[in-house]
Symmetry: none
Subunit: 195 residues, 4 copies
DNA sequence: AATGAATGAGTATTCATTCAT
DNA sequence: GATGAATGAATACTCATTCAT
């Protein structure tokens, strides 16, 4: 930990994280052994512990990276858009595109919620993400653009929609993110109500 | 398996399932050992294997029971309501009330999604649940009561909303199901749009 | 730990302790693996952990048992002897006889002194042992039977003589305890001075 | 091994030996890793193996150096003293002073006795030390200055006294060597008997 | 039905040692 | 001389499962 790494070292580390994330997503965290990770990469077992303190720390690191990366992506997408409703929409779409490209990380986030050890780390990132959305929602409410309801509820409802549609349509059914995002946006903006 | 059980036997079995579900939900499936389950109940290890083939089977059984139970609850709630939109609403509310009373099972469902071994069993139940909703949605569309969009998408969007709001507001923040259900229904019907 | 054991269980436990003590004494604590212990006894690895929390706990248990046993032996030997100098002599002789019969434990005591983890447990027992001797020494000093010097020093000096002579003459050279004890007693009582 | 070293090289080597000896003494030989030694000195792992063949060899080297150094110290102290009893006394005192200044090495000697691998090397040095004392004892016996008993026994008894009093009073209780040496000499010359 | 002892393959992790740079 | 990355055998320990009683 806190090791200073050479270029080569940094690459190894990334390689380990990517490979592990893929295995964790595919079969689950526990069923994936450290042995499997290193032998899958054709390296000795010591390599793993040269770069990570433990399997648990590795997981946490992957988790944190994923959350950071997603957030960066959303902020990029939103840019300096003025309209808060438009910002919400851009955020939703960015989430789904990111999710399409990072299905592994998404599964890990879901898993993290099921194990006491990982919940705190998970929530830390999740709170930040929701806070971002809440900001836009509040602004839109102030402008009378969206219904005056608890912004926290609205934000979480959208997170629920995006997350679930992603899992079902993008991951399980392999549909392209764009179309699914259209549907998600439409649902979030209008619900079931006919245009 | 498929053992014929006395009354006392049935109680033991239920006791094991309930205790295990609680531990699985609290700390996770893998971190909970069979030892912990039996010693938590003050019985010998043989008892476990008298009633269940394996830890995995036990999990599957809990999962199936939970899904069956939820469905029964929804159908009861809907009764013979004529209005398809109302039926949807009743279904949503029933889900949340059930979830409030069975948080353990809900967490297990979430976990099942993260481990390859359990996914098939999970999906079987989930498909049935969504199919129920889809039926109502289709009917409502036919009546022009809700937007004419892929009913599958709408159904899953609602599942996402209900699931996530449940986890955040009912489980994490301890709010009563009723209020959260109001918010969920409102969001599903109207989205963000102002009244 | 704190397990209630059947008769058979008690025997297994003793068997493990005896075998482990022998290996620890022969090759050292660290070079002796748990694997070696269980396979030497022809049992599965789980057996070890059924009876002991860890290798370290096992060592500690052996240590404590040894110290307790030695003390009991000394007290038996001393009985209700009135003369304090005689009591000291009987104690020294008892130590050496015990040491002859328990060379394994003696080596473990020596090892325990070299590893920070075991020192506290070791000292606890050692202090008790020395306190016993000190009591007799004080009494003898009061009677003018032995030199009026710090009883603690005298007690420890004797412990040093007995311990070292045991190791060299009984263990390494295989001489019978009785003769060595004669020499030890003589040295303690008279030092180098000619009769 | 048998590498020819520059001045700087010799210093590195000594530094490694001193640091390792300190750690070995403090926590034990096995619990101290090569990693810990090199990182404690802020150097890379290769350095260790540049100077020593193995961890085991390092230990052996420290052990040998210590024994050699102690012996040199004793011979210096004895000088050309004529009186054999006085020579014994000077030797005892020198041992204790040396031990006070080299507590690390003393602990290593003790540890070496508990591990089969190190016993041979240990005994080699110990035999020489005892032989030195035995020589003086024999001479003193011939002069009728001390009791006519197996000189070997007497020598070892003294080694035991000195070793144990050193550990308890100098190491554990931090008393100054001189006073403890007085007590040790007195005990060796007179035993418990009143002046 | 139930107990508690036993099994042994499997897990994460450590660590002495090697080696390319 | 020195670094830090890599090796892989070995270790303590866990745990689902079995079985004699």
């Amino acid at each position: 930990m806190a090791r200073r790494l050479t270029q080569r070292g940094k690459e190894r580390r990334d390689q380990l994280m990517a490979f592990a994330a893929a295995r964790f997503a595919e079969q689950g965290y526990h069923p994936t052994s450290v042995s499997e990770i290193v032998s899958g990469l054709g390296v000795g077992k010591g390599v793993f512990y040269w770069y990570f303190e433990s399997k648990e720390q590795l997981f946490l690191e992957i988790l944190k990276d994923a959350q950071t990366d997603l957030r960066r992506r959303q902020q990029q997408a939103i840019g300096d858009e003025e309209d808060p409703v438009k910002r919400i929409e851009l955020g939703l779409r960015a989430s789904m595109e990111w999710a399409e490209a990072h299905r592994d990380h998404n599964k890990l986030i879901q898993f993290a919620a099921t194990e006491a050890t990982f919940v705190p780390a998970l929530l830390r990132g999740q709170d930040i993400a929701v806070a971002d959305v809440v900001k836009h929602v509040k602004e839109a409410i102030a402008q009378g653009r969206i219904r005056d309801t608890d912004p926290d509820v609205l934000a979480h409802a959208m997170v629920g929609v995006v997350g679930h549609l992603t899992r079902v349509f993008i991951y399980d059914r392999g549909e392209p993110a764009e179309g699914v995002a259209d549907a998600a946006v439409a649902f979030c903006l209008e619900g079931l109500s006919p245009a």
